[in-house]
């Protein structure tokens, strides 16, 4: 599918044709059709520059970092630390030492729960999350609460899928020791007013962790403007490689936290009697990290900057509005998540047809969507549905692909008529 199909693309500042040429996988076939990839909230596709960066690293730059005195180790260390600096600039952190590399958002959240959480939570204390969290921002806190005898409190959402801010404020009490919330909901697309929520928590002296996995691909994020204490995200949802993610933490907080895992690189000195830990961020990076992943993440950041994050956001917003309008016009369709402020995600159900069946029929047309509970079962329970179909957009998607989705849904109606 190309933009030359006779469907008008909105006049956009983006050269989407050119962008589509940057992604080799968009020119492959699925089930005999041109691939229509609308599962970007699960993972985005990778541009050639990111793929090339990985190959180039292994072909010319591979060595272990922070160890050898030899040429390649020095070069790899430099590449790795340049990657950290690129992430620092990407989210406007004050110091590169505030950027901890993890395997992804999930590991970043677990890191905070198991270090900051274990240090600061005692029996009777509370962790406050929201009803729209991904399992990865629920379960680490449940584990922590179980260990410490603490309580997990959940701020509710309304029928549009928006956080009820007054209820959030009420739950923010003297026992709250940390707040953890998503910047953008993966199941509903809701953009939370995180800056305001963080200010509310800070007024009570409570630090905030933001799960930014679904935000960084779509919104320019400035952790200092938000005043986030912790901000977690993954490279693979923002055109980067899998297996690498980021935990941003304010320096004073990171420095006061105990290490997460023990091993090489996170130590200053080791004897059998006593080990002293390395300074941040290395204290939290035990073992050989995903060096190629960091190089790939840097390439992804540069790729997004070259396009312009605001332009990406505007293009995706146009697609989301177009798709919402087209799908809402179809009979029997109910959009799940109709918040005033949304990004990228269009979740829906069709009357009397299970999302799993819809997914299979769309797949036969080469259309990739996610069907299921999206690792957000409490959100499904809130809307009294077992699952949804989720289409999620990236910078390379076009209106013609939305039209393909609409045609696919008509096919669903034919089969189940």
């Amino acid at each position: 599918m190309t933009a030359s199909v006779a469907i008008p693309e909105k006049a956009s500042a983006l050269d989407v044709d050119k962008i589509r040429r940057d992604f080799p996988i968009l020119h492959t076939q699925a089930r005999g059709h041109n691939l229509v990839y609308l599962d970007n909230a699960a993972t985005s596709q990778k541009p050639q520059v990111v793929i090339d960066a990985l190959v180039h690293y292994y072909e010319t730059g591979n060595a272990n970092i922070h160890r050898g005195v030899h040429y390649l180790s020095e070069k790899a260390t430099q590449d790795f630390e340049e990657g950290r600096a690129a992430v620092q600039r990407f989210i406007n952190a004050a110091h590169s030492g505030e950027i901890v590399f993890t395997r992804g958002t999930t590991e970043a959240i677990n890191l905070v729960a198991q270090t900051y959480g274990r240090t600061h939570l005692r029996a009777g204390d509370e962790v406050l999350i929201t009803a729209m969290e991904h399992h990865s921002n629920i379960v680490p806190w449940q584990i922590l609460c179980e260990e410490q005898g603490a309580k997990l409190r959940v701020a509710p959402i309304n029928d549009q899928g928006e956080l009820i801010v007054e209820e959030f404020a009420k739950l923010l009490g003297p026992k709250t020791k940390i707040v953890a919330l998503s910047h953008v909901s993966n199941a509903l697309g809701t953009v939370n007013p995180v800056k305001r929520l963080i200010a509310m928590a800070h007024a009570k002296g409570v630090p905030v962790l933001v799960d930014g996995a679904q935000a960084v691909p779509h919104i320019a994020v400035d952790v200092r403007d938000l005043d986030a204490d912790f901000y977690a995200f993954s490279a693979h949802k923002m055109y980067g490689p899998t297996g690498i993610g980021v935990l941003y933490g304010k320096k004073a907080l990171l420095e006061a936290m105990p290490p997460y895992q023990g091993g090489g690189d996170m130590i200053a000195s080791v004897t059998f009697e006593k080990t002293t830990y390395n300074k941040v961020p290395h204290k939290f990076e035990a073992g050989t990290p995903d060096m190629a992943g960091v190089v790939g993440l840097k390439a992804a950041i540069e790729y997004m900057h070259a396009i312009g994050i605001d332009k990406i956001a505007a293009h995706e917003h146009d697609l989301l509005e177009y798709a919402t309008e087209k799908l809402s016009a179809l009979p029997g369709i109910r959009v799940i998540g109709t918040a005033a402020d949304k990004a990228s995600v269009l979740s829906f159900v069709i009357e009397d047809v299970h999302p799993h069946d819809i997914g299979t029929i769309l797949d036969q047309e080469g259309i990739a969507v996610r069907t299921g509970h999206h690792c957000a079962q409490p959100v499904m329970d809130r809307f009294c549905i077992p699952a949804t179909v989720r289409a999620s957009f990236a910078v390379y998607n076009i209106r013609a692909e939305v039209d393909a989705l609409v045609a696919g849904i008509r096919k669903v109606e034919e089969v189940f008529a």
Partner: protein
């Protein structure tokens, strides 16, 4: 290329819209719950066992067209059968939907009857768990197991 109509045969669609034995039989003495955590499909299978024989069977729950039709047609096929016969039908059905069968259509029809319409599932590996969820649940009910059955 697998064809959609091979999967969504008329009989399957019809059973998914109007499932048979969608009830809890009055004299239920065995039951089990089945759950597929990946898609949220959830069924309870109820049995009235008379010694070794399935005197009555019913099911309730929610799931996709494939899982619901499979549950519905399962209840029809094992009603009146002994535990061993029901287990044998499941074994043959499992072979059918996972593509581990090389018999002629006639033989399949003889062994499985109407259940042969599920042969298309074998072309859709992601849907095998949908087709077998109710059967795994039946197996647990026959064994009198108490814990919830999960496809994972």
């Amino acid at each position: 290329m697998p064809e959609l109509r091979d999967l969504y045969q008329e009989v399957i669609l019809e059973h998914s819209k109007a499932p048979r034995n969608y009830k809890e039989p009055a004299h239920t003495n065995h039951k089990a719950e089945g759950y597929n955590p990946l898609c949220g499909d959830r069924f309870t299978v109820y049995l009235e066992m008379d010694g070794d024989t399935v005197r009555d069977i019913g099911f309730q729950g929610a799931g996709c067209a494939i899982s619901k039709a499979s549950a519905s047609m399962m209840t029809q096929s094992v009603k009146g059968k002994t535990k061993a016969e029901a287990q044998k039908i499941f074994a043959r059905f499992h072979d059918l939907v996972t593509g581990h069968t090389h018999e002629s259509d006639e033989q399949l029809q003889a062994d499985l009857g109407k259940l042969a319409v599920f042969s298309g599932v074998s072309e859709f590996p992601m849907r095998v768990k949908c087709a077998t969820l109710a059967w795994h649940t039946l197996e647990a009910a026959l064994e009198g197991k108490q814990e919830k059955v999960s496809t994972e």
